[in-house]
Symmetry: C2
Subunit: 152 residues, 2 copies
DNA sequence: CGGTACCCTACTATATTGGTAGGGTCTATA
DNA sequence: TATAGACCCTACCAATATAGTAGGGTACCG
């Protein structure tokens, strides 16, 4: 399960993507509109900035904005910053490999053999989905919802 | 990341699968051979038993054994018992659905739309892999390792 | 130069994880 | 039927992670 922190961060990123090219957005506005505790959101955005995903501007007219266009930011990048590696066991992580203490032969570990496939499946989706892709999915889902309501 | 508890449990299950049809196995033997803290393992095996995955026999000649043949126990079933739902967000779980508090329209939630695919990918693998499959993978990995060593 | 808005450190409460301790209960068998 | 073998059950504990809150510090725009 992904943490609340990660969900908040993703909601904020999606919001910033939707309002890309409208200039910096205030933490306070983001917090109010997405119903996220302001101080908590502040910390999340800061760490996204420190990891190159967001940029910020101080002072009047300041705020946060995406560091790259929505089509260049993947969910995988963002989630790794907030929730750590995608891999279910550290010994199959591509970005944060670590040996599993309880396993002596990595090549023949049954758990590892299966979890490698799981990691690849997860990473395949999350590294292949950008914020722009998410906006598109949401838009088309909203469209189908409207059509559905029309027939009801 | 899966918990240490789940890794211990899976190692125990794989061990029991490999020694299926050798009769009950002692917690103490399992703990020693797989290097798992005995008391901790005791609790894990008990919960696997209470969820129908294992069976046990008390008294002399007792121990734990699989509740079904290795080909009928999937990793998905076992992991759900020990680590909870496979889904990254509760609102896409098939076996333990729950509404996400921070989301008001499930049909058009961008996070949900993507996480649904992630859940399906994870569940596809783990519900499609049995203990027997794991044994097979391990055996063929050990075979390749031997061949490799031969040429070195 | 003043206010806006991000930046930084520290603190707290609660839940989860990874165990440990110490008996209780059932069961085979001698 | 006694007894030892082996699982069963309750309670506790320390360390870490999660989900925040508090209160200022610092940079920047106008």
């Amino acid at each position: 399960m992904i943490s609340k922190k990660t969900k908040y961060g993703l909601k904020a990123l999606i919001h910033l993507a939707r309002h890309y090219d409208e200039g910096p957005i205030l933490i306070a506005d983001l917090a109010r509109e997405e119903r996220i505790p302001k101080k908590f959101l502040e910390a999340i955005l800061l760490s996204l900035k420190n990891n190159g995903i967001l940029q910020s501007k101080k002072g009047k007219g300041g705020g946060y904005y995406l560091g790259r266009p929505p089509g260049k930011i993947t969910l995988g990048q963002a989630i790794r910053v907030m929730d750590g590696p995608l891999a279910p066991v550290p010994c199959v992580s591509e970005t944060a490999y670590a040996k599993c203490s309880e396993c002596d032969n990595e090549l023949t570990c049954g758990i590892r053999l299966v979890m490698k496939d799981v990691r690849d499946a997860i990473a395949g989706i999350l590294d292949g989905t950008t914020l722009a892709d998410v906006l598109e999915k949401v838009d088309s889902a909203e469209e189908s919802e409207k059509v559905l309501n029309f027939y009801i």
